[in-house]
Subunit: 242 residues, 2 copies
């Protein structure tokens, strides 16, 4: 049975907005870095998988933040894998402040793809092989919610450029989050209320594509759908401040 | 007489492109984080200045990278202030790999502004007050070059959104760099040749403005000029791969 992995972090000057608190994408990036570093450390990181022509792809993710820590604040990310399904593995995260109080939780679900066929690999074998990496502790938050349909009240467009793409050559998760949050008013983005984000990745978006980001505004949040020129939903998401 | 300050860093999964090497903006962000953390540690960070209604503003910066380190590579940033002029202070940086070999150098020049008048503060007093923070070692690269005029062969536009702005409520340096580099071809952005960036910040760009990013393409680089609706140059820059 494995132990959770801990990463000690602090909020750096480049990670805060004008309220001097970490932005949601900055904390999201720290969470995903922890995932990448832990997988690497355990020998099943993207680098090891690439050698076998495979890669991890984030399928769904939920992030809950009760507070956004201030610049220079120390915090700790704990991460663990709670299970492997046939298609998705579940990686969990808690974020705790210097006093040990948990202020953030995240649940991510990952598929493994074959880089030649771009199709999902059956994880049953991986689950058996890496069974010792599983920590028998349930996810710290409700798993990512399904978002079935979005009726945009507003649409923005964005052409995918070099700085948007990741090691898999598709748009990186944080850029999707930024594209969506950038459609929300500053009052919500900089408020101190707890926030929950749910993200569903349905299809890759790639360099040079022009994306339409549809936003269905609600009073304290929104639903989003991102699609490339073919109009097929690539990402659906929701954000809600309490 | 002060010592240089060292920061031990490593290239995180969120910082690499599909060549699995750190992007130029990711290394630039690490450099600016080192500046912020060192100033904070010495008691003249943005947080301390804000209490006196002042802030540091980056005026010019040059970055030279001989190589872009690979994912997970450890490296060390050393930073020191070499002098205070009447208007600008000079902060220097070297980036060294795990073997101690320097692969990156940067020179930055900072003004202090009064947040009420948005005008520059005379640094003579600050220089005397913080004389013990100066390290008598010259800048490790040629100081930021003046870019006098740019004749764009191509222009992109960008509306300034929440994720573009920093603690000063203006567009953050890395976003300017990304906007400009995103106009360059992938072949140059991902090549392994040494690269030099020169940046001149002439005027703040703010939330909600629409920026025009003019690019004068050369064979192995480009000149850039960014302006908001008033057409007055806000940033001039050059990038050149050897």
């Amino acid at each position: 049975m494995a132990e959770k992995t801990c990463f000690d972090c602090s909020i750096e000057p480049q990670e805060v907005d004008f309220t001097f608190r970490a932005t949601i994408p900055a904390l999201g990036a720290a969470i995903l870095n922890a995932a990448g570093l832990d997988a690497h450390g355990r020998g099943f990181g993207v680098d090891a998988l690439n050698a076998a022509n495979c890669s991890w792809v984030l399928s769904r993710m939920a992030i809950e933040l009760d507070a956004r820590p201030e610049q220079y604040a120390d915090y700790r990310i704990e991460t663990w894998i709670s299970d492997y399904g046939r298609v998705l593995s579940t990686r969990n995260f808690t974020l705790a402040d210097a006093a040990g109080r948990i202020f953030g939780r995240a649940v991510s679900q990952w598929a493994m793809i074959d880089l030649r066929s771009r199709s999902a690999v059956d994880l049953s074998g991986v689950g058996r092989e890496h069974a010792e990496a599983i920590v028998a502790e349930p996810s710290p938050a409700e798993r990512p919610r399904k978002i079935r349909s979005v009726a945009p009240t507003e649409t923005a467009t964005h052409r995918v450029v070099y700085s948007d793409i990741d090691f898999n050559r598709h748009v990186n998760t944080m850029r999707y989050i930024e594209m969506m949050l950038d459609m929300m008013p500053l009052e919500l983005l900089t408020c101190e209320a707890p926030v929950r984000l749910d993200l569903h990745f349905l299809k890759e978006c790639r360099y040079g594509q022009t994306l339409a980001i549809g936003c269905e505004r609600h009073e304290r949040g929104a639903l989003f759908e991102i699609a490339a020129e073919d109009g097929i939903a690539a990402v659906r998401a929701s954000v809600e401040w309490r």
